[in-house]
């Protein structure tokens, strides 16, 4: 496939890796790089990038997976809406297995709720057209990448005067989350691999505060293996040269100012919430999107009564610490035993972009754990044995 296959060639990867290795020898200490986006986490594990990097480079898997950062309370609210008589609840497949406090959307569907998986928010609008006697609610979640699509869907619903359609908005913003991470004293990072498709919408300029206020380098990256390797190479160049800049590796997609049309749609339909609860990070000011009063008729939070309760995470689950990069997945006692992709306790095991699911699925645990124990500074505690984990 064009624009995919060319960015996966092994001999080119080897060439970049040699440059990374050369630069890593010039650095005086081990370094920690956070890939913010869950899409990057998935690629890193899928292609085994973490394993081939020099042992002085540690990748921290950040909170850029909308499913992983969704608190249980919001899931409970979604399930409560879906259980309303006369409601068809439409959602991306990613959210189906996320555990709420008692059940998941998948289990709620098995118990009789009309919950349907859609590929696009526009598909949920079509369901509303096809079922004028039903209330159709779309579970809107995701970062700025997905927000334009839901904004345009609401604009289309308004234009067509489709009154039996609404959205339960759980959109979150990446910049406030990055600020929260950078302000966290538990987390010591040397640089960031920046989210590529969020930046496609917001541009690379909004990350200037990372270099100017926090003195950290960031490289906005594409998602193919050569993209990620080149971004790590660019980060190391900055560290070796003692620079802290915002650089853009993904310039075939990302512009400095982003996509103006998409941003205008977001600003027209959505307003920033005063605060939004993130799993693992807690309440982060101005980090979520709600529907503007002008489009209140499409706001499921106003149309339906929802519990709107905060629910504590399972005591055994360490998703919060894992999302912040403070703990590794295998340091959670239920990883690979009580918590698996088939029976997830925490959200990081639900999404293919979650760090726990990635470690579990791609069987990289034994190698990386060994490296962490023997070659790298201890993170927090001795890793637990890989209970029930079968390496590929």
């Amino acid at each position: 496939m064009k624009y995919v296959d060319e960015f996966r060639e092994p001999e080119k990867a080897e060439a970049i890796l040699r440059e990374i290795t050369k630069l890593s020898h010039q650095l005086e200490k081990p370094i920690k790089i956070m890939e913010v986006c869950g899409g990057h986490t998935h690629s890193i594990f899928k292609y085994g990038i973490e394993e081939i990097l020099p042992q002085t480079i540690e990748l921290i898997h950040g909170p850029g997976c909308p499913v992983c950062v969704m608190p249980k309370g919001r899931l409970d609210d979604a399930i409560a809406i879906s259980q309303n008589h006369n409601v068809i609840f439409a959602t991306f497949g990613d959210a189906m297995r996320v555990p709420g406090s008692k059940t998941s959307l998948l289990q709620a569907r098995a118990q009789g709720a009309d919950i349907r998986m859609v590929y696009s928010p526009l598909d949920s609008l079509q369901i509303a057209r096809d079922n004028p006697d039903k209330e159709v609610v779309f579970f809107a979640l995701g970062f700025e990448t997905t927000a334009p699509s839901t904004a345009f869907t609401i604009l289309q619903a308004a234009g067509e005067k489709i009154h039996n359609f609404s959205m339960f908005s759980n959109h979150v913003l990446v910049i406030p989350a990055l600020k929260a991470l950078l302000d966290n004293p538990d987390l010591q990072l040397d640089g960031f691999v920046g989210p590529g498709h969020v930046s496609m919408v917001i541009g690379s300029d909004p990350y200037q505060f990372i270099s100017q206020q926090y003195n950290k380098p960031i490289v906005v990256s594409g998602f193919e293996p050569l993209d990620i390797l080149q971004s790590i190479w660019m980060l190391l160049q900055q560290l070796v040269e003692n620079r802290c800049e915002v650089e853009n590796q993904y310039n075939r997609i990302v512009q400095k100012s982003g996509n103006t049309v998409a941003l205008q749609a977001i600003n027209k339909v959505f307003a920033v919430r005063d605060s939004f609860d993130w799993r693992g990070l807690g309440d982060i000011p101005y980090s979520g999107l709600k529907i503007q009063p002008e489009y209140a008729q499409f706001d499921a939070e106003l149309k339906f009564i929802i519990p709107n309760l905060k629910v504590a995470d399972h005591k055994a689950c360490k998703c919060g610490e894992i999302l912040k990069g403070v703990l590794k997945p295998w340091e959670c006692k239920v990883f690979g035993t009580a918590c698996t992709p088939e029976t997830p306790i925490g959200t990081c095991m639900v999404s293919s972009e979650g760090a726990c699911a990635a470690y579990y699925k791609y069987g990289r645990l034994s190698t990386i754990a060994k490296r962490t124990i023997t070659q790298k500074p201890k993170i927090t505690q001795e890793p637990l044995p890989a209970c029930g984990f079968s390496s590929d």
């Binding site: 624009y3 960015f7 080119k12 060439a15 991306f92 334009p148 699509s149 590529g196 997609i253 103006t260």
Partner: protein, 91 residues
């Protein structure tokens, strides 16, 4: 969640609703092109464009020149490390 797949616009199917047919690795799917059209780029001017598709929307055009330059850098790096001097064949 933020997955995006490259595809090429091959037909405008509904100008009013800003819908186009995109070829994604041989699979043809109708997507919304509202994010990539404006006065300078009306829908009919989008045919042939390579775009990044996410949840049924073409989110941005792919800058073919930037992509080529990135790939050229990889090529030169690999060639340099292999000890081969690169040269351009004029056709």
């Amino acid at each position: 969640m933020c997955l995006g797949i490259p595809g090429q616009i091959i037909e405008i199917t509904n100008v009013n609703h800003k819908l186009a047919l995109v070829n994604i690795g041989g699979v043809k799917r109708e997507v919304n092109i509202a994010c990539i059209v404006d006065e300078q780029h009306p829908p009919e001017a989008c045919i042939g464009d390579w775009v990044l598709v996410h949840v049924g929307f073409a989110m941005n055009r792919i800058n073919e020149q930037e992509a080529a330059e990135t790939l050229q850098l990889f090529q030169e790096l690999a060639a340099a490390q292999a000890g081969i001097s690169t040269y351009t064949n004029s056709v």
